[in-house]
């Protein structure tokens, strides 16, 4: 791609202008006619829901990022009953859509426990900083979404950019016998602490 991604804004501009997110979307079942449109239009058609922790690093940037992509999102918090209820409402209204979740490990673990067995968690990643300052990304899940994401990981600079890529991955389609694999990658350091992300598809997609 040869794009230097210096900020969330340039990342998004690059994503939208060159439609770099399109391969991700097309590979997960977005209709051909939608691919011909803008990223925003496509995202609405496929309509992933992005859940990310409000008080994790760059929560506000994540919100701006997914908004610009036209994706639905819901902030997560463990601290307020109203936030938990908002998440549960979002999940209830998200039937049939893919979910991208990003937050601190305990938060994502808690969300995962509210998803299953209604959703299929097709990919989970642990993102933590190594002693040398690099970011480690440990993926577990299905090969197809893992392969798609792995091509992006060394290009995203922070959790906000990662959230945009993750959320752009719509609902997938594959056989139930698909094998789970693991993949370890590194990237330049992200700001903030350890994070976990996951991608879940609705029951029936798998």
């Amino acid at each position: 791609m040869g794009v230097t991604l210096t900020s969330r804004r340039t990342f998004l501009q690059a994503t939208v202008r060159s439609s770099v997110a399109l391969p991700l979307l097309t590979s997960f079942g977005v209709a051909g006619s939608a691919v011909a449109g803008t990223v925003t239009g496509m995202a609405k058609a496929e309509s992933s829901l992005c859940l990310f922790e409000a008080d994790a690093a760059m929560g506000a940037d994540m919100a701006a990022g997914v908004r610009q992509m036209g994706l639905a999102y819901q902030m997560l918090t463990l601290d307020e009953a109203s936030g938990w209820h908002a998440m549960m409402d979002a999940l209830a209204s998200a039937r049939g859509r893919a979910l991208a979740v990003l937050g601190r490990p305990a938060t994502v673990f808690a969300v995962r426990n509210m998803l299953e067995p209604g959703w299929r968690v097709v990919l989970e990643a642990r993102h933590h900083r190594l002693a040398g300052g690099e970011m480690s990304h440990e993926f577990t899940g299905l090969e197809t979404p893992m392969a798609q994401l792995s091509g992006w990981v060394d290009r995203v600079k922070d959790p906000a950019q990662y959230a945009v890529v993750l959320a752009s991955m719509g609902r997938g389609d594959l056989s139930s016998g698909a094998e789970r694999k693991t993949l370890d990658l590194t990237s330049p350091a992200w700001p903030g602490g350890d994070l976990v992300s996951l991608l879940a598809w609705p029951k029936g997609a798998v």
Binding site: D79, P105, A110, R180, G193, D194
Partner: protein
Amino acid sequence: MEAVLPPGIKREQFAALVADLQKVVGREHVFTDAQWELPAYNDAYLTTPAELHQPSAAVAPANVEELQRVLEVARHYKAPLWTVSTGKNFAYGGPAPRKAGYIVLDLKRMNRILEVNEKHGYAVVEPGVSYLDLYRHLQKIGSKLWVDCAAPGWGGVLPNMTEHGVGYTPYGDHVTMQCGMQVVMADGTIVNTGMGALPGSQTSHLYKYGFGPSVDGLFTQSNFGVVTQIGIWLMPEPPGYRPYMITFEKESDLHAITEVLRPLKVNMLVPAVAMTVEMLWEAAVQVTRRDYYTGKGPIPDSVRKKMRSDLKIGAWNFYGALYGPPPMMDNTWEVVRDAFASIPGAKFYFDEDRPADDAAWQYRKKLGAGIPNMTEYSVMNWIPNGAHIDFSPISPVTGDDATKQYELIRDRCNKAGFDYCGEFAVGWRDMHHIFCLTFDRYDAKQKARANKLFGELVDAAAAAGYGEYRTHIDFMDRIAGTYNWNDSALLRMHEKVKDAVDPSGILSPGKMGIWPKSMRKGRA
């Protein structure tokens, strides 16, 4: 993970069993896919191989009628069921069954709030109602009743009570606050306990004991029936609420704190389930271990001191609250403050004295007013891939006992390379001592050490005369075995009851060490 079968059931029979369950609840509410569905019924915090607790299927009835038909199917095939509902029960086995092959009976869909009685202060709920659900409902209808919740608000009102859980307000002893119960027995019979046995009863949820033996307790922490409804008393919003925190400088202050507290508690000057919390629990809610220390083994004293200073916490931290009209709270506070002020170094805080970003204070302040939240779950961020099993002995409210239990656990856990992270929940005459044994769930060696340590703690506590109130599925037999006075007379009585009320042995075999006759040889 490979699919497993219920014990003693062949593959063809299992297929027929699943088909029969699907006829009862619909295909979408019978889960058999080992890759995508059944992991939801595993325990992510196991210290033993997951294969030991892998369910063969899960079934989720929507109502009592469906539940009765599920029981009929289970009796027909002699298939063991493992009852769970909402709430997660992490630290005690999560939704995972005691043994591989059981079918998880998931009551999450039975989630109706059947009644809120504002006048008499109670609610009637089904098993799938969480504290967050009930709180939301009370807010929606403008109720002036409070919930008393578990620290993670996703806990279930009914299942937390049946597991003898406690909360944080004056209504924190959940078993005490339960009144009236509906149980479906293994043979499908529906039983209303207490006053509810009277047709048209006006007092099902007002008087606990009914006429004749009071049997509600038989259905808590047991496998004698499936509890499908309870009445739970709710505290009316008081005219005033003023939570407080008292910090103590020294580890050895635990003795004095407990001695000062006992008369305050017994005389109801500390009306709520108060908490004496060790510093690492406080820290783990808001920072990570790596923020302060990257070495192995227990955190050194010098580092602990810096954490206390940064976070404005003590070696021990006491949380209580005043309830009532302001003049009453003022008077009570004078007594409480003066009593604890006798401990050198005690520092007193109200809401306005704590930093606004103090996550530990903020969530405990909410808990004391029955406002559910999930903040305490952040403790699992303390170490990478954080997981925990809780060792939970009961202690008398004395300085000697608190110190003895604390040292018994601390020394063994430090020797095993773990930090002590724990708290004492102070009830009417006892303390639930909760030691949160935290480990990396992807580190096989740590898990093995945690498992070994836990067993050592069970034995050491029993030898000192302390028993646990609740435990992880892997330790149910071991702990049941410590309650062995008079040749295990209590366990033998439990087994007689089990054989009488569940002769097919289908309900949660092995729960709390109680096995049906056909499986007693399998006791681990």
